[in-house]
């Protein structure tokens, strides 16, 4: 980014010196003309930029700051509100729904992020071969990602159906007894995780695949000539080249898993009991069922801190990997 910005600057000064090299008599008028041209460009620039700037300020910046402000109030739609400082946060510490949602969301992220990243990398390595039919396989792995989560969740609701679902049908084919899946408090969250992993593989796989295709052939061939085995080629040539992709996949996966909502809403609504309550579901319930917008905003603030913490720790772990 920065190098592109600096590239643009010299080209502009280039035209300026070009103009000043012309005859001394015309120099003055040329400069005036050039200045008015630049002025026109500046005016056009601001006009073109204003809608996007206004939109993002009104619909993103202001709400973000408002969330921080609201979290310190008891605002509840009624119009009058008072400043309550950190009371919302103190109350959250004793709120069983919130505590369950917090733990479930963290567990969900800790399970889903590493497993789906690992699987996606393996699939990408498999697909990164010049063989027939790879385009078909790539499409197959990617389709769940482009499908609406509500549609995916509805299909899986039917797959997990205890009596006639595909999941128990498949288990009985392999000789296992039927499982309760979504109707048991212990099995419901892992059942949701499985769908989360299944749906998220494609997006990660595509990014890994693009990064692998950027690894120079010469480097891999040189390593082969030096007698490196497949594992050594992967570890010393491919793995380091994957670093930027790893970073992107890690961040988007963490942010994505913390936002899990549609899936839970359709498949369990947080149940049985509150066994699959997650943060966004709890925020939604407190804000729009309980009408406690200040309290719900305090939860979103905690969610920002949690996502940030996860990203920092994740980066540390990736960094440690590299120095090995």
């Amino acid at each position: 980014m920065s190098n592109l910005a600096t590239k643009a600057a010299p080209s502009r000064t280039g035209t300026a010196t070009g103009h000043s090299k012309d005859g001394a008599a015309t120099k003055g008028t040329r400069l005036v003309k050039r200045r008015s041209v630049t002025h026109k460009q500046v005016r056009a620039g601001w006009l073109l930029l204003t809608p996007a700037l206004l939109h993002s300020t009104i619909f993103i910046s202001v709400p973000t700051i408002a969330a921080l402000f609201l979290s310190m109030t008891d605002y509840n739609f009624s119009g009058d509100w008072t400043w309550v400082g950190f009371d919302n946060f103190v109350e959250l510490m004793g709120d069983q729904n919130f505590k369950t949602a917090f733990v479930n969301t963290v567990v969900y992220a800790l399970v889903v992020v590493p497993i789906s990243m690992g699987l996606a990398l393996l699939i990408a390595l498999g697909l990164n071969q010049k063989l027939r039919g790879m385009a078909f396989f790539r499409t197959a792995f990617y389709i769940p990602t482009v499908t609406a989560t509500v549609a995916v969740a509805t299909v899986w609701l039917w797959i997990y159906n205890p009596g006639a679902g595909l999941a128990n049908g498949a288990l009985s084919f392999f000789g296992f007894g039927p499982q309760p899946f979504l109707s048991s408090p212990d099995a419901a969250l892992p059942s949701l995780m499985l769908v989360g992993i299944w749906q998220g593989l494609g997006a990660k796989m595509v990014i890994y695949l693009a990064a692998l295709q950027g690894v120079s052939r010469e480097l891999v061939e040189a390593a082969d000539l030096d007698g490196a085995n497949r594992w050594q080629v992967f570890k010393h040539v491919k793995w380091p080249a994957l670093a930027p992709a790893q970073f992107f996949v890690l961040i988007t996966s963490i942010v994505g898993t913390f936002q899990v909502y549609d899936l839970v809403y359709v498949m369990t609504k947080g149940g049985p009991g509150i066994s699959t309550n997650v943060l966004v579901l709890d925020i939604y319930n407190d804000a729009f069922q309980g009408m406690r917008l200040g309290y719900a905003s305090a939860e979103t603030v905690i969610m920002i801190l949690l996502i940030s913490a996860f990203i920092i720790v994740g980066r540390k772990l990736q960094g440690a990997d590299k120095s090995e």
């Binding site: 502009r12 601001w46 039919g133 482009v146 990064a211 992107f248 913390f258 909502y261 996502i307």
Partner: protein, 279 residues
């Protein structure tokens, strides 16, 4: 060989839920009491029946309006901003770009509560006075469904990345020929970033079509509810759920984006990769 076997099994695991969805949609309602793969007879009329049980066609139309509306706004606003950031001599263009990049990292769930209040207080709409008080603003309206989620900073950033790679000499030459600044943007530079336009189009259509939480928050009538929301409501009615009809509705919600993806696959994959690796 082993690779093919592994990949085939993997692909089957990825695709079988969709295959089963379509097969279930074709079964007769009394055939889904126990697990079977293939229907005894193919009941294509289930799709028609499903449309009668729930206003799926209406939802479908609403999703289409929202997707087209959001995409039109996004294409206009984000190419304009992307071009200005990339090619016009704005003071502070670099910090403005940083501003957009920071905003594209704000997760939607963080702002959902205050965004609801912002949309509720749009002045002079939905019975609001000039200060945005007293009415419902853009709640339960096309405006509210389309505008806040359109023109995301990600698309401004994406458009800027494409414009920046065009040579500035093209614009300068057009300027010499007396073409105005907006003419240069519309007729000279934008036709050269068609791949970017396709990428933005595909991503935004998919995002708008698949959205759920925001429509859930701000709609209160069936007239403007999109398909995903209609489907979710229909699937919650567990008492006498008709799986074939529900799967027919689900297919209606899922298949258009799958088809769009298969057609625009190359762009889609390139877009994902460039968003991930260049950024």
């Amino acid at each position: 060989m082993v690779l093919y076997v592994v990949l085939t099994v993997g692909s089957l695991l990825m695709l079988s839920p969709f295959i089963w969805m379509v097969l279930t949609a074709l079964k007769s309602p009394n055939e889904v009491g126990a697990f079977t793969w293939l229907p005894k007879e193919y009941h294509w009329e289930n799709f028609v029946e499903a449309m009668k049980t729930a206003p799926f066609l209406n939802y479908f139309r609403n999703s289409l309006i929202i997707a087209i509306g959001e995409t039109a706004v996004t294409l206009a606003v984000c190419t304009m901003a992307g071009y200005a950031l990339a090619k016009l001599p704005l003071r502070g263009a670099k910090s403005l770009l940083t501003y957009f990049i920071v905003l594209l990292m704000v997760p939607f769930q963080i702002i959902l509560v205050p965004l609801f209040l912002v949309v509720k207080s749009v002045p002079l709409f939905g019975g609001n006075d000039i200060l945005g008080m007293g009415g419902t603003g853009w709640l339960n309206s096309w405006w509210g469904l389309i505008i806040p989620l359109a023109a995301g900073p990600m698309y401004t950033f994406l458009a800027r990345q494409f414009y920046v790679s065009l040579p500035s000499e093209l614009a300068d030459a057009a300027r010499m020929d007396g073409v105005g600044e907006f003419g240069i943007f519309l007729k000279v530079m934008t036709p050269l970033v068609k791949p970017a336009l396709v990428t933005i189009f595909v991503f935004q259509v998919e995002g708008a079509w698949n959205a759920f939480l925001w429509p859930l928050m701000i709609t209160s009538t069936d007239e403007i509810r999109p398909l995903q929301l209609g489907l979710a409501i229909f699937s919650q009615d567990q008492s006498d759920i008709q799986w074939p009809y529900l799967m027919a509705g689900t297919a209606l919600a899922a298949l258009p984006m799958i088809v769009l993806f298969i057609f625009a696959q190359k762009r889609f994959v390139e877009g994902m990769a460039s968003a991930g690796l260049k950024g």
